[in-house]
Amino acid sequence: MERGTREYTLWSIGIALVLVFAMIPVLWLISLSLKPSAAIADGRFVPSEISFENYESLFAGGIDASPFIKPLINSILIALSTTAISIVLASFAAYAIARLEFPGKRAILAGALAIAMFPPISTIGPLFDMWRAIGLYDTYPGLIIPYLTFSLPLAIYALVAFFREIPWELEQAAQVDGATPFQAFRKVIVPLAAPGMFTAAILVFIFAWNDFLFAISLTSSDASRTVPAALAFFTGESSFTEPTGSIAAAAVVVTVPIILFVLFFQRRIVSGLTAGAVKG
């Protein structure tokens, strides 16, 4: 039908626009990363020739000499640890909030909300001082702890929303069918809760992976510096054009996995964000 085709094309254009809007910076980075250093300043969106030298220089020198490998490892380990701990803590709290009756429930939720709106910059000073005093400065825990604090609200809200959707009567039904409470929990509840926890984990991981402020304030060396912070220091004494290619290559390395991640889990992520964010 005529009206149908016109609508179809309009929607296609709209969707294409959104996609282009989203991908321009990524494509640009990929393009930059593939340009040989001579061509880096040519200002073209599509590279005239392709070279992998930027990627090579990133990894050259192995773990010690490369400016990128150690930070990458740091990022991965710190983000994973944060995610694991955060989800465990948030799950406990979310389970209590979603299922049990107790005073202070609303206070905790309100408090979590307040923390989500808190300016991290206001904690940098004291943390800097405290960590130096305790010896957590420039260490993994030194970053993991603040990450926990600021990721918990999001995780708790998302998990509370997910847990509320679980039909808990199933647990009792399983017990009537002959399962022990623990069996019932393990075989019935856990599989139902797992997807929600996975989604919350994705959200926390992205948060920790993304952080810049804490990373540059609370680290000073490759000991625990993560990729975002390391990137900022790529721009060293060398001339401006040099690091552009390396930065672009490094950026691509840390971004492509995220894009694949997003591609596979987009439905989950959206539901987690709307559940968590909207409820919050």
């Binding site: 959104v18 909030i97 299922r99 909207v278």
Partner: protein
């Protein structure tokens, strides 16, 4: 473990339920408070002292001197203006764009997965990475923007205050519009589709339907989204740091705080800035909540 509350006072079961609940929540609560409640208290303490880590020997209680210095400095007020300016402009643009994207996502009959992915890429990307990308794009020699039609070939985006702002805003909008779109989408889906049909039959055009049905019914969701995004935008740091490091008078209050604390190691002044930022955020939040009243509660779609 059942979830219903006991009608009469605290029976043994209620009390054990409460105990369990507190036990479960404790670790998370501790983790959350440890890095917020204590540091902010500590920051207040630090702010009334003169502490310069470069000169550790000097120092001591100076009362409100630090605050006086900050509030009396032109830099603070410039930065505050910058921050507010960036916030207002970014959030306004994001609201309009986010609404458009939310509508596309809501009504799309096909390609939903593509749109969702497109919308989440900015969300997943590291802010710093995105900032670099945009910075490189607008750089005078290596960037591609100056090669675009209608844009002068040697425009120096980062040489001027407001053109720098333009790039910063562009990057911020790109990064956070998706989140705004998702928040708005959540509000959109709560509107009963039949209302649009009734409006169609009543004689409303698409535009009329949007302004008379969609917008009014989305008010709570819009206000919540605005609240979140405003507070978020107020804290802008990453993008500015990467793009201009605050040059050309583009510094934000967070960068000011950072500079004092980490670069200059002046914990006293820096803490004063931190506390003032916190106060500003509180004021913004308070104003919003006042305006929203109980609307924030209403804004939460009932699942």
């Amino acid at each position: 473990m059942e979830a219903h509350a006991q009608p009469t006072g605290a029976s043994e079961r209620t009390r054990s339920e409460r105990r369990l609940a507190w036990l479960l929540c404790a670790p998370a609560v501790v983790a959350m408070l440890a890095v917020t409640a204590y540091p902010i208290a500590y920051a207040i303490v630090l702010s009334v002292q003169s502490i310069d880590l470069r000169f550790p020997a000097e120092g001591g209680f100076v009362g409100l001197d630090n605050y006086a210095s900050v509030l009396g400095s032109e830099l603070w007020w410039t930065d505050l203006f910058n921050t507010v300016f960036l916030t207002v402009v970014s959030v306004s643009i994001e609201l309009v764009l986010g609404m458009a994207i939310a509508l596309v996502m809501h009504r799309a009959i096909f390609g939903r997965g593509a749109v969702r992915t497109g919308v989440l890429v900015p969300y997943g990307i590291i802010t710093v990475v995105a900032a670099f990308s945009w910075q490189f794009a607008f750089a005078p020699d290596s960037g591609f923007v100056n090669g675009l039609p209608l844009i002068s070939d040697d425009m120096d985006w980062f040489g001027d205050r407001f053109s720098s702002f333009a790039v910063i805003i562009m990057a911020e909008v790109w990064k956070t519009t998706p989140f705004m779109a998702l928040l708005l989408l959540a509000g959109l889906v709560t509107i009963d589709g039949q209302l649009y049909e009734a409006a169609k039959v009543d004689g409303a055009s698409a535009v009329q339907r949007f302004f008379r049905i969609t917008l009014p019914l989305m008010k709570p969701a819009i206000l919540v989204a605005l609240l979140f995004r405003t507070l978020d935008a107020f804290r802008v740091f990453d993008t500015i740091y990467i793009m201009t490091a605050g040059a050309q008078d583009t510094e934000s209050v967070s960068i000011l705080g950072f500079n004092q604390l980490i670069s200059r190691l002046n914990l006293g002044l820096g803490s004063a800035v931190s506390v003032l930022i916190f106060v500003c955020v509180l004021i913004v939040a308070f104003l919003y909540v006042r305006v929203l009243g109980t609307r924030v509660e209403e804004g939460r779609p009932v699942k």
